[in-house]
């Protein structure tokens, strides 16, 4: 979305931040648990969230691509 706007360098972090928080938060938490030697079953909820994020934004990317890049 930032591509093709005048101030793309400034805009990218502003747009990215709210969109990546739901990925970063569970990833950080899962990493912390893994480093502490937690069992894989303890990570199930967090891994489910990370997978859900992947699926949601893969789909969103496919749907949005033609809109975002039209007329460039």
């Amino acid at each position: 979305m930032a591509a093709g706007t005048r101030a793309r360098e400034v805009l990218l972090p502003v747009l990215m931040f709210p969109l990546v928080v739901p990925l970063v938060a569970p990833v950080v938490d899962a990493t912390r648990l893994a480093m502490q030697g937690a069992a894989i079953s303890d990570l199930a909820e967090l891994m489910a969230l990370i997978c859900a994020y992947d699926v949601a934004y893969l789909v969103a990317g496919f749907l949005a691509f033609s809109h975002v890049l039209e007329g460039q």
């Binding site: 979305m1 930032a2 093709g4 928080v21 739901p22 938060a25 967090l46």
Partner: protein
Amino acid sequence: MKSPKWLGPLLALLIVVSLVALIVVSFVLSPPERFMGERIRILYVHVGSAWTSYLAYVVTAVGAAQFLRSRKPKWDHLAVSSAELGLVLTTLTLVTGSLWAKSTQGWWWVWEPRLTITLLLWFLYAAYLILRQYTVGERRAVVSAVLALAGIPTMVLNHFAVSIFRVMHPEPVVVKPGGPALESGWYTVGLALGVITFTLIFAGLVLARMRLERQRDELAQAQATGSIAG
């Protein structure tokens, strides 16, 4: 979107009535609460604005989706009007929530599910409005609509992400299975009135803001075709 002529005045009337009722209930009729004391009165504003700030995102997303489908400018006007109000309402929610939490719980802010979601919502509104500053015309409408829709999975996932972690925000006490759990009926009335009043104000302001956006569009078009001087 052309709304009927009577809708504006009717909304204005309803807003005045419910606002007066809300002020009377929250400052006169509602007794101090057993634990919170007078500070319960903050919640009459906080709950209403919180509910409306989420409603505003739903309205923005609906406007964005409809715009991408139909490419009619009115839907973009709806989305941006709602997003601007959403930013204001989310700010109000965060400020009143902080004030209430400091005075009753002893902290201004904790990284807790609902607070974090609301802060993220604020960032989404801000990103949406900043993005609109850097683009023009139909392109602006399209990219901002995509951002508004891209925010939906974020909000949903966050809802689940944070529900895994600890909860410090009070649970709902009015709308919950088994009926309201407050001792005085006035608390329930006040909170419900707050929600109604804020929803009405939101609707009224969105209508006014959409009219402004439509007139701006018409002005820009008139200037572009040279029918009036820029």
